[in-house]
Structures are given as structure tokens and as C-alpha cells.
Symmetry: C2
């Protein structure tokens, strides 16, 4: 796996890491580590504007890091797959070493 990936893959890869590269998005992801939460719950729990959370959830969604489920008026977000946790764990290992 020593070759540089094709440009479009490389840009996608950079984009994925960019998504993890913001503390607000990391906090949102951590909030979803245990179980799904509605937009309002996340905003409340992080003490941030609903709008901010919504914008960032869109970024997370676009990059397939979270998925959503509608239930009545609320929309519940959850982590999309296990990569998310693993990537964060890897990063944390590096920071804490």
C-alpha cells in the first residue's frame, strides 16, 4: 500500500480527515458514541446553537459519518459505522502517547 492514491481518492481522504478536524464535530460524534440523539438534545448537551449543530450535522452526514432517523418532529442522529469510533481512537492514541 505504498502508492499514492489517485487524486480524487486523495481529495476524498483529505475531506474525511477535515471533518474530524473540528472540535465541535468531534464533540457531536462523542455525544453519539453511546446512542442516537436528536438535534435539540445535542445542541442542549453541548450548549451550542441549534443552527450550528444542524450545519455541522450536515457536514457529518455528507461524509457518511452519521445517519439519521426521523421520529415525529425530531430527527435522531447516530454514528454511521464503526470506522468513526476507530478513527477517533487512533487519533486519540496518537495525542495521548
Amino acid at each position: 500500500m505504498n502508492n499514492i492514491p489517485a487524486p480524487e481518492v486523495l481529495f476524498e481522504l483529505a475531506d474525511v480527515f477535515k471533518v474530524f478536524g473540528d472540535s465541535t464535530r468531534l464533540r457531536i460524534l462523542y455525544t453519539l458514541f453511546d446512542d442516537e440523539q436528536s438535534v435539540g438534545e445535542i445542541a442542549e448537551s453541548l450548549g451550542m446553537e441549534q443552527s450550528t449543530i444542524s450545519h455541522q450535522l450536515k457536514v457529518l452526514r455528507t461524509n457518511k459519518l452519521v445517519r439519521l432517523r426521523r421520529e415525529g418532529k425530531q430527527i435522531y442522529y447516530s454514528l454511521d459505522d464503526d470506522h468513526v469510533k476507530k478513527i477517533i481512537e487512533m487519533g486519540l492514541d496518537h495525542v495521548l502517547e
Copy 2:
């Protein structure tokens, strides 16, 4: 591991991912996957300005993703540890899935 890390850890974590979130830096890291390279070699191989590479190597160095070794006039850079490869592999898995 369900708790949100302390703010300063969180910011560090975001910073690390930020470093991976740029295609130039990813290309530099890939260039170093096999073995060490001098600044000039990297610049040449990527077809970019020496100055650009030097600036980005500094970012990589600051975040402990690469280390350097001086040999005469040249400075050879190499990956600092295995986390680097692993983190990139994880990201790639996510992109390619």
C-alpha cells in the same frame, strides 16, 4: 471510552486530524511511506515548490507525524511512528467502502 475528552485533549485531537485533512500533506506522508526523503526529493517528486513542502513539513513535524535527520546539507524526513500509517489506512477504508 464514551466520555468526551477534556477540552484541551479535544482540541489537540482536532488539530491532529486537521493535519491529515490536506491533500498536500497526505501526499508528503505517502511519499514517506517507504523510506525517508529529503525536502528537495519530496518537492521534486510531488512537483511542488520547495517552500510549500518546507512549510507543510513544519506542520507535520509540530504534530509529531514526521521526524528529521540531518545529513550534510540535506535534511531527511521520515514518518514518526506507525500511527501515521494506521490512521491513513483507517481513513482510506472509510473512503473506499
